[in-house]
């Protein structure tokens, strides 16, 4: 079994929204038709997006952390949005675990979006069908692309490599290793949806300065301690010598 997924490193994300714009660009240009982009220069622009970057402040001033939080469909291993679909338009692929919507079967009843606790699905206001992240399914299998580019557009665009892509069921994949090594976690575990996408937590890089580092305890000749330490009131060498 394969379960493709994204792993998003919150320690690295700088909140530049490059993944948002590249996602919109790729998915509005695809064979499934354009993603709605209504009043893009008007007072109240709206439209369908598969990916957003949100910003949270954790802690109380002055001890705060700003966390940029990219959010897209998590491609749950037990997706609550799929069984509720009355037409079968919403489905999870056996082969790679991607959760998709068949835009030709969707009746736009919105029930699957009610059934998603993460708010990962959006009705396209123009096409009137449910849309969501496809994990760039029309890109990652594209044989005309070099192997290195067969990744979702958001992963390709990320300037800090905060987004990893791979098979979380393969223990040796880059995403599985990242989850293992850096305590990757799932969102809202309380609902048993088993999201495939994981997040890597913020990590602190603390600096510890020990006493022995200051006193040069590792100095084998103990030269520091043997040197004369004249008192501040005593004349210095400069006072008694005329060079």
């Amino acid at each position: 079994m394969t379960q493709l997924a994204l792993v998003i490193d919150l320690n690295v994300c700088v909140g530049c929204h490059a993944c948002v714009t590249s996602c919109k660009e790729w998915n509005t240009s695809g064979s499934a038709g354009p993603l709605a982009d209504l009043e893009p220069y008007g007072k109240d622009p709206t439209g369908a997006f598969f990916n957003r970057v949100q910003t949270f402040e954790v802690g109380e001033y002055p001890n705060t952390q700003t966390v940029h939080f990219p959010k897209s469909c998590l491609h749950c291993e037990d997706p609550p949005c799929v069984p509720v679909c009355p037409t079968g338009a919403s489905y999870k692929r056996e082969a790679d675990g991607i959760v998709l919507v068949d835009y030709d079967k969707c009746i736009g009843c919105k029930y699957c979006s009610w059934a998603c606790p993460y708010g990962a699905r959006e009705v396209d206001p123009k096409r009137k069908v449910m849309t969501k992240c496809t994990l760039c399914v029309d890109r990652i299998y594209d044989q005309t692309r070099p192997e290195s580019e067969r990744k979702p557009a958001c992963v390709m665009a990320c300037p800090t490599s905060a987004r990893l892509f791979g098979d979380i069921h393969d223990p040796e994949s880059v995403v599985s290793q990242a989850i293992r090594d850096n305590a990757g976690y799932a969102l809202m575990p309380e609902w048993g949806t088993h999201p495939a996408n994981h997040y890597l937590p913020r990590r602190k890089t603390p600096m510890h300065i020990h006493e022995d580092e200051l006193a040069r305890a590792d100095n084998p000749l103990k030269v520091d301690g043997l040197l004369p330490k004249p008192a501040k009131s005593e004349p210095t060498l400069d006072d008694v010598m005329s060079w």
């Binding site: 929204h17 948002v20 009043e39 109240d44 622009p45 709206t46 369908a48 997006f49 957003r52 970057v53 949100q54 910003t55 949270f56 402040e57 954790v58 802690g59 109380e60 700003t66 966390v67 939080f69 959010k71 609550p80 799929v82 069984p83 509720v84 679909c85 009355p86 037409t87 079968g88 338009a89 079967k105 969707c106 009746i107 736009g108 009843c109 919105k110 029930y111 979006s113 009610w114 059934a115 998603c116 606790p117 993460y118 708010g119 699905r121 959006e122 009705v123 206001p125 009137k128 069908v129 976690y185 799932a186 969102l187 809202m188 575990p189 309380e190 609902w191 997040y199 937590p201 913020r202």
Partner: protein, 326 residues
């Protein structure tokens, strides 16, 4: 959640239709058992079935306005193995067909005896249709309510009380409608139906108040901490990622103040339960024409408010991600 008027109409209209059909068949069962005088002629059953059918059709038509692509609605019967919505889509037309046949059989006097009970009571085709229709009507209450009750993270909905409420409130409005209908065409049945409407409305009020109390005690399971997976008591959203609106900001919030929500609660407690109970009691004791009809109109309006509140009160966990525009 944002209450969509088409869904409010759908659930209240078919609820009244189902309840009316159950009331018609209840009268028939009582008449067969000799507990009620049989209604004169067949107008009561046939015309009553027509009214029930009109309510069911009205609900079905309303449901189409909820769809983005109504021309594909036929597809929605496909996933009945997993989806309560799909099951509803199958059961609703089935009930409509049975209600139609029930009315036609009464109108045409088509009553071939299928079996005779040991006590000598004949079971004819209309009784068989009535039994099938009753099963379907209850199945439809179950399907409609489970569409909402099966979503575990919409905790205001995820309760057996949702199923009880949909059944009792639909039944109450249907029996009130039946009482109003009987006061016009079969006055001798008015007291019987108004009595049952009173009892079911009272039970509905109790179960709805029970669910209000339950919901007021709910503590959210999902928090900002579980939503973004950071363990800190103070997390504040600074930006949701966009400044215009989106589907996520429109679909999952009713967009009204807490004061409106509270006043709608009191409005529906009065108009769906208190006022109809008083009117039903009045209609039961003496029956000035129009009192029971008024009871139905008030109760139906109250149930629309109740359904609005049902949606508005449900707090979707996705709202945790959409709290600040910046």
């Amino acid at each position: 959640m944002r209450p969509d008027f088409s869904v409010l109409l759908l659930t209240t209209l078919i609820g009244a239709g189902q309840g009316l059909f159950l009331a018609l068949f209840t009268v028939q069962l009582y008449a067969i058992a000799g507990l009620l005088p049989p209604p004169p002629g067949h107008a009561f059953y046939a015309h009553g079935s027509l009214v029930a059918l009109l309510f069911l059709v009205g609900g079905l038509i309303a449901s189409f306005f909820h769809l983005g692509r109504p021309e594909r609605a036929w597809r929605s019967a496909a996933m009945w193995r997993t989806s309560w919505l799909s099951r509803e889509v199958i059961v609703l037309p089935a009930l409509m067909a049975v209600v139609f046949l029930f009315g036609v059989a009464h109108l045409a006097g088509w009553k071939p005896v299928l079996a005779t009970l040991p006590s000598g009571i004949a079971i004819d085709a209309t009784v068989a249709l009535g039994v099938v229709g009753t099963v379907l009507a209850f199945a439809l209450f179950l399907c409609t309510a489970m569409i909402y009750a099966c979503l575990p993270f919409l905790r205001e909905w995820a309760s057996p009380l949702t199923v009880v409420n949909y059944t009792l409130l639909g039944g109450a409005s249907g029996f009130t409608l039946a009482a109003a209908f009987a006061s016009g065409v079969a006055p001798e049945l008015t007291r019987f139906l108004a009595g049952w409407a009173f009892v079911i409305t009272l039970l509905g009020a109790l179960s709805r108040i029970a669910s209000l109390i339950r919901n007021s005690r709910l503590k959210p399971k999902s928090t900002l901490q579980t939503a973004i997976g950071i363990k800190h008591p103070r997390i504040v959203q600074k930006a949701m990622g966009f400044m215009g609106g989106s589907y996520n900001t429109r679909e999952f919030f009713h967009g009204r103040s807490g004061a409106v929500l509270r006043s709608v609660k009191w409005v529906f407690l009065l108009t769906a339960f208190a006022v109809p109970l008083a009117l039903l009691a009045w209609g039961w004791s003496a029956a000035p024409a129009g009192v029971l009809a008024a009871a139905f109109v008030v109760q139906y309006a109250g149930l629309l408010a109740e359904r609005w509140f049902f949606f508005a009160q449900a707090n979707h966990p996705q709202n945790l991600y959409y709290q600040a525009v910046a």
